[in-house]
């Protein structure tokens, strides 16, 4: 906190209107409206702010909140002001679709750039459906939605020329093509997050985007199947998959140095050929990436799978960052055996294996003869130096080794 000088002067209120509104725009609407009581100068500033950031729980009921939103937007319209950010935490007990749509249409009309809607309404009670006007909102840049529904646009054209970031969690799309259409209609899309839920019925996620740089997939489904994923994103730099029981991953195009972070678990019946095929397809998809950060449980799953089926080669992989935290050394070599062009290896261990362990599960020759850089992140124990020596002796191409703590 800065030292507050007791100068006696009210510097804050002397700032011009638009700068005060700028400061107020960093607050929730509730905090912003509360400044109305500070002094006469402040009594109406809150109503000029280009942000509506509301939590339904602050109001007595749907009607009160609705009235407030309506009058706020009405005065904005009258004064020719824009509404740049609309953030709504929506936990109503009664949801009225027509009224909701009418309000959101106005939000779109007022030139919204950042739209966040977190719906906590119980799925059985009512579906909170997004207005179709959203599909052609020219000003929208960031879209973050939780547990809402996107109806099929029908004949309406979908065009989102300014959208850079989209976040969908627990979102239902009315039809398999809706999400795909949304993604492809954003010519400057950079970041996409999709978090499927058990109740959203999403079966396929097709990501087709020339501009997309970052894609995050995080599944919250435990019992039922996860969606199949297809990616055609030549600018993709980062992808992260956090999944239980991932389905297929088809990679058509990704960026030249794309990195992927994987934390998944296959809990499959290995006597079921279709399950085996699913895992195989997933691994083939992963093998498109050039840099991979992989969790311990993923390595364990791959190790189990390798006992039943051969692993595909990971010939594109040049950098691997693997964690064996809460796992053991023996699950590592199976995966390393597919890394035929590995240049750089970072290993995170919570305990260093003894030489006997390593003798039983040695680092495969393909890695020992291609590795250029090694980093060992382990606690400092005597066996750490033995492990380092193991690599130094057996890895002829190694030029740099880094030993660091965990």
């Amino acid at each position: 906190m800065a030292r507050t000088e007791v100068s006696g002067k009210d510097w804050l209120s002397d700032l011009p209107c638009h700068l005060l509104c700028r400061i107020l725009s960093k607050l929730s609407t509730k905090e912003s409206v509360r400044t109305s009581i500070l002094s006469r100068r402040w009594s109406n500033l809150w109503s000029l702010v280009s942000v509506l950031d509301l939590d339904f729980q602050d109001f007595k009921g749907v009607h009160d909140m609705g009235e407030f939103i309506d009058s706020f937007m009405e005065s904005h319209e009258e004064l020719g002001l824009k509404l740049k950010r609309f953030n709504l935490f929506y936990a109503v007990h009664e949801h009225f679709h027509k009224v909701f749509v009418r309000r959101l249409n106005k939000v779109v009309k007022l030139g919204v750039c950042d739209l966040t809607i977190q719906n906590m309404v119980d799925v059985d009670e009512a579906l909170v459906r997004m207005p179709l006007s959203l599909y052609s909102c020219a000003t929208l840049v960031n879209l973050i939605v939780y547990c809402v529904v996107f109806d099929h646009p029908g004949s309406k054209s979908v065009s989102l020329p300014s959208v850079k970031k989209m976040y969908f969690e627990g979102v239902k799309f009315d039809g398999h093509s809706v999400l795909e259409t949304l993604i492809s209609s954003c010519p400057v899309l950079e970041e996409l997050t999709v978090i499927p839920h058990p109740e959203d019925y999403l079966e396929v996620i097709r990501v087709r985007s020339q501009s997309l740089e970052s894609f995050r997939l995080e599944s919250k489904r435990f019992e039922c199947d996860n969606p199949n994923v297809e990616i055609d994103a030549p600018s993709l730099k980062f992808m992260s998959i956090f999944d239980n029981k991932p389905e297929s991953l088809k990679i058509h195009r990704i960026g030249p140095f794309a990195e992927v972070t994987v934390d998944v678990e296959f809990d499959v019946e290995y006597d079921d050929p279709s399950e085996i095929a699913k895992v195989h397809n997933f691994l083939v998809g992963l093998s498109s990436f050039h840099e991979l950060t992989i969790s311990a449980r993923t390595l364990e799953s791959i190790d189990e799978y390798s006992k039943v089926e051969p692993l595909p080669p990971f010939s594109n992989l040049f950098r691997l960052d693997a964690s064996l935290v809460e796992s053991s050394w023996e699950v590592l070599p199976a995966f390393l055996g597919c890394c035929i062009n590995l240049d750089s290896l970072v290993l995170e261990l919570d305990h260093v294996p003894e030489m006997e362990e390593i003798k039983l599960s040695p680092v495969p020759q393909c890695v020992l003869s291609s590795l250029d850089f090694l980093q060992l992140k382990t606690p400092s124990t005597p066996s750490k130096m033995k492990l380092a020596t193991y690599f130094r002796k057996n890895c002829t191409t190694l030029t740099k080794m880094l030993l660091s703590g965990r």
């Binding site: 700032l15 400061i23 400044t35 995170e348």
Partner: protein, 180 residues
């Protein structure tokens, strides 16, 4: 799960900065404050101030640019911030660099008193320096957040010029904001 990124030696943002300054014509710009203090800065830094970037584009930035509305002490702080933020690290690409910069920002503003922060806001607005304007506005907003109106009045020396009736009327009208 480990989260180390490409550069294990943490140099990628410095390299980016070096590349950024190489790709700009290696010009120096001289800024003179209202009280006669002069600051020579790289063109890349000066371009953070949109008002100057436009002058450079329109070719009317001479060697020395007078900044009439800003005193030397404030201008020096603004330039300090601009130099640190010439290249903004990408959260995805370089988490470490972003964290370091956030920490620097926090220390930067910690040392400043409120009067200075307001002057910085006015100057950043005049120079059209988006990044600093946003950051300074957030800093002031953080002072207002989670405080009662009485506390806010005290921090900023705001005089309550309402009559008791007016104040009561406002409390009633905006009752939902005064609960909890």
């Amino acid at each position: 799960m480990s989260s180390s990124k490409k550069s294990s030696d943490g140099k990628s943002s410095e390299i980016e900065e070096a590349v950024a300054s190489l790709t700009m014509p290696f010009n120096k710009i001289l800024l003179t404050s209202s009280d006669g203090e002069s600051f020579e800065i790289d063109e890349a830094v000066a371009r953070k101030f949109q008002i100057i970037a436009h002058m450079i584009e329109d070719d009317c930035a001479g060697k020395a640019i007078p900044i009439d509305n800003v005193t030397g002490d404030i201008l020096s702080k603004i330039i300090e911030y601009a130099k640190k933020h010439v290249v903004e690290p990408d959260e995805d690409e370089d988490e470490e660099a972003k964290k370091k910069l956030d920490s620097w920002d926090a220390k930067f503003v910690e040392k400043l008193d409120l009067e200075t922060i307001f002057k910085i806001i006015l100057a950043a607005n005049y120079l059209n320096f988006e990044g600093l304007l946003g950051f300074a506005s957030q800093t002031v907003a953080d002072y207002i957040k989670d405080k009662t109106p009485e506390e806010v009045r005290e921090i900023f020396n705001i005089e309550n010029d309402f009559t008791p009736e007016e104040e009561e009327a406002i409390r009633k009208e905006n009752a939902w904001t005064f609960n909890g």
